[in-house]
């Protein structure tokens, strides 16, 4: 009994002794956080289409190391972005900078949305003045019934 108990106890003891918390991979989690949020919005230049944060390529590792250094030097997010753009061009940014050539891109959708809603409502208003009230839809219904001849009252539209 005793050896068994000892064995059991020592296993338990070892388990407790080993239940250490793993150390974070990065030296400084705060820097790491900033690195991730900055590099998530950058392109890995050697990959087909991956972010700088996610890519495991050599160049991505080097560039992340570089950005880490810049963060530690106290550079702001904008300064880091400028650093990258100076060397690799706008292509490296996943968030296209807002300049005249990207106005269409950033503003376009919202402008089209507003125009679309306006056009729709305007069109509907004009249509109401022109469209006949009842006759046509009843006629259409009859056409439908004729096409599906023999299906009778079950085929009425619901509500």
């Amino acid at each position: 009994m005793k050896p068994l108990f000892l064995a059991f106890a020592s296993i338990l003891f070892l388990q407790c002794a080993f239940a250490n918390d793993a150390a974070p991979l990065a030296d400084d989690p705060v820097t790491e956080q900033r690195l991730i949020s900055i590099s998530e919005e950058m392109r890995c230049l050697v990959c087909q289409n991956e972010s700088l944060a996610g890519s495991r390529s050599d160049l991505a590792n080097d560039l992340r190391r570089e950005i880490r250094t810049l963060i530690k030097e106290g550079k702001s997010d904008d300064q880091i972005r400028t650093f990258m753009v100076e060397r690799y061009g706008d292509f490296v940014l996943y968030r296209p900078p807002v300049k005249p050539i990207t106005w269409l891109l950033w503003i376009g959708p919202f402008v089209i949305l507003v125009i679309g809603i306006a056009v729709l409502l305007g069109y509907l208003r004009r249509r109401n003045a022109v469209a006949p009230s009842k006759a046509l839809s009843a006629e259409d219904n009859q056409k439908v019934d004729a096409l599906l001849a023999g299906l009778g009252k079950d085929e009425r539209d619901e509500k």
């Binding site: 974070p24 996943y94 050539i101």
Partner: protein
């Protein structure tokens, strides 16, 4: 010898497809019945021939026939049988053959299930489908022949990209293509009705179940792709706004608009021109997507190997198909009569407003995807448009749409009293606001984005529940009604999933020695050991991790790092423990010095609700499709 039969089958299929495409359309135009009746038999023959061709290609993979170039490039004798089958569509040529085979599948379904339809219409629909099939077959035979020989035959193949050796691969492309290709049916119906000069509500009724079916498949296909990327790529993301992903999402958005627009046209006879245009657009976007993925015009992780000849051919094909349909549209659509009148405050208006949002959002995704190309073509430089753009633009456009979704179903056709609607909805609004405030606090941190997400989701859920309660008082709900509720519920579930994961996921990157523990999301994950494990065509390093919460052991996780014999890059196979309310995701990184390992763990709350929501959407579509009025037709056909 056998691959040559496959080649002959394709060539024959082209000839018959041309017959299927040209003669019935000519017959319909001149009223020659003897040409009309060729439609169905031609479609059946094409289907048979393509089934044979596809079967032969599949057999070549199964039998490891490396004298076929395509097999040698995408398969390997060590590849497990299941993946050999999936490899049939792992590359450009095979996936294109799958595309065409599925097109002929849809064609034959239409041909068999349309007995009650006017024979001129049938002839035109099958004819249009035949023309598309011919064009694609011509493409395959001239630039992308899957049966091309490699002589002398290779000893063994190059094998499938390890990323693609996964069950998800076997299902994702067929599902996706069923959707993509399925929109061709709505397209064919639209063209047929433009050709006949008769555009009535009957056309809408006929198109609707086919469009819904295609939409269901596309929904599932996209969801499957997203889920596959999540568990396969090892880094926990589920959507990257990659050009190829966008290429499938844009038709989905337009397809959703089309579904709703068809409802207006079917019920009220209005907006036929708009609906026809949407039908043409949805399929055109499918073709455009096919072009973008295979032409080398955009950078993407998904892109197939590119060849400029292929790009040019698809572009010409795309231009012909879409160009001629839009010319036909411009010519014939204006002749349409208007449908019934409806006031500005009515269900029609709400649906159409919804259409505007959906189409604009589709347009903005398309704009973002093509913008780099646009700028480059104008020699204005090279820019990238990535997730930050799409998230900033797409989400704000969707928000009003979600609000509309909660109101729309309460409105009546033709005219509705908005005040009454608001009176019925105040409770839903209250629940929404409460959820938007309470849930973030329960989860531990309030952010405006999270609050907004929950508000919108619960707005939809509450509105839907109130609708169901009200409907139960009136009478038995139709399948169509239930379908709508389920589909909209799916969206709400999806939004909850996205909001939860976006706002409350936790991630830790640690250096682990055996025995050490990392805590994430309230769970303890302990590294028990690392061992080397052989696989069928790879060697794996496998970690064993125990998952515990509050001292209770929940599961063991086995992430792997696999070195495939046929590839130099090691693959990360993440281990995921799934439950209804969270995923625990463990990914093995590199081995660091002195037996420590880099390990990444995620706590992802409610992440499976993202794909669960998509399942509900698809289920809703299936329910709607199986509504009584469509089933009666089937019964009639069987009789």
């Amino acid at each position: 010898m056998i691959p040559e039969f496959g080649h002959y089958a394709l060539t024959l299929a082209l000839c018959v497809a041309l017959i299927q495409g040209v003669l019935p359309l000519v017959g319909a135009h001149y009223g020659r019945r003897e040409l009309l009746v060729l439609a169905r038999p031609a479609a059946q023959t094409v289907f048979l021939l393509l089934a044979i061709a596809f079967g032969i290609l599949a057999w070549s993979f199964y039998a490891n026939d490396f004298s076929v170039l395509y097999v040698a490039e995408h398969s390997n004798s060590q590849l497990p049988v299941v993946y050999r089958f999936g490899a049939v569509w792992g590359g450009h040529e095979g996936s294109l053959l799958l595309w065409i085979f599925l097109l002929s599948t849809w064609t034959i379904l239409v041909s068999q299930l349309s007995k009650a339809l006017d024979e001129f219409m049938v002839a035109r629909v099958i004819g249009v489908l035949g023309l598309i099939t011919s064009g694609l077959l011509l493409f395959v035979l001239t630039t992308s022949n899957p049966f091309e020989r490699l002589l002398p035959a290779a000893q063994d193949g190059r094998s499938l990209n390890p990323l693609l050796q996964d069950p998800g691969l076997v299902f994702h492309p067929p599902m996706l293509y069923m959707g993509y290709v399925g929109f061709s049916v709505a397209f064919a119906f639209a063209i047929a009705s433009l050709l006949s000069g008769r555009l009535d509500a009957a056309w809408a009724r006929w198109s609707r179940p086919w469009t819904t079916a295609a939409w269901v498949f596309l929904t599932l296909g996209i969801a499957l792709g997203s889920w596959w990327a999540y568990y396969e790529l090892g880094w926990g993301g589920w959507w990257f706004w990659d050009p190829v992903e966008n290429a499938s999402f844009i038709p989905w958005l337009v397809g959703t608009a089309l579904l709703h627009s068809l409802a207006v046209t079917e019920k009220r006879g209005g907006f036929k021109s708009w609906t026809v245009l949407l039908a043409i657009t949805a399929f055109s976007l499918s073709l455009l997507g096919t072009f973008l993925v295979r032409s080398g015009v955009l950078t993407s992780v998904h892109a197939f190997a590119t060849d400029p000849r292929r790009g040019i051919f698809i572009l010409i094909f795309l231009s012909l198909v879409v160009g001629s349909s839009l010319v036909l549209y411009a010519w014939r659509a204006p002749k349409n009569t208007l449908g019934g009148k409806f006031s500005l405050s009515s269900r029609e208006t709400f649906i159409l407003l919804g259409n505007v949002f959906l189409v604009v959002s589709a347009g903005s995704v398309l704009l973002g995807t093509l913008y780099p190309l646009l700028i480059d073509a104008l020699h204005l430089g090279k820019i990238s448009v990535g997730p930050p753009y799409f998230n900033s633009v797409f989400v704000p456009i969707m928000i009003p749409l979600l609000v509309l979704m909660g109101i729309g179903p309460w409105t009546s056709w033709k005219n509705t009293d908005l005040l009454t609607v608001i009176k019925r909805l105040w409770l839903a609004g209250l629940i929404a606001v409460f959820a938007g405030i309470a849930i973030p606090f329960i989860m531990g941190q309030f952010t405006w984005l999270a609050g907004l997400g929950f508000l919108l989701a619960f707005w939809l859920i509450a509105s839907g529940c109130l609708q169901v309660i009200r409907q139960m008082k009136i009478g038995k709900p139709t399948r169509s009604f239930i379908g709508m509720q389920v589909a909209h519920l799916g969206i709400a579930i999806f939004v909850i999933g996205v909001t939860m994961v976006g706002a409350y996921q936790e991630e830790k990157d640690v250096r682990m020695f055996t025995g050490e523990t990392v805590t994430v999301g309230g769970y303890q994950i302990q590294l028990m050991g690392i061992e080397v494990v052989p696989g069928p065509n790879y060697q794996a390093i496998r970690g064993t991790f125990s998952l515990t919460k509050n001292g209770n052991s929940q599961a063991f996780l086995h992430p792997e790092k696999r070195s495939y014999f046929s590839s130099t890059m090691p693959m990360t196979e993440a281990a995921i423990n799934t439950s209804l309310t969270r995923d625990i995701y463990v990914s093995l990184g590199e081995e660091l010095g002195d037996k420590a390992w880099a390990v990444r763990v995620y706590y992802k709350p409610f992440v499976d609700w993202i794909w669960g929501g998509c399942l509900f959407m698809a289920l809703g579509g299936v329910l709607a499709m199986s509504d009584k009025r469509y089933r009666l037709k089937l019964k009639r056909v069987a009789a």
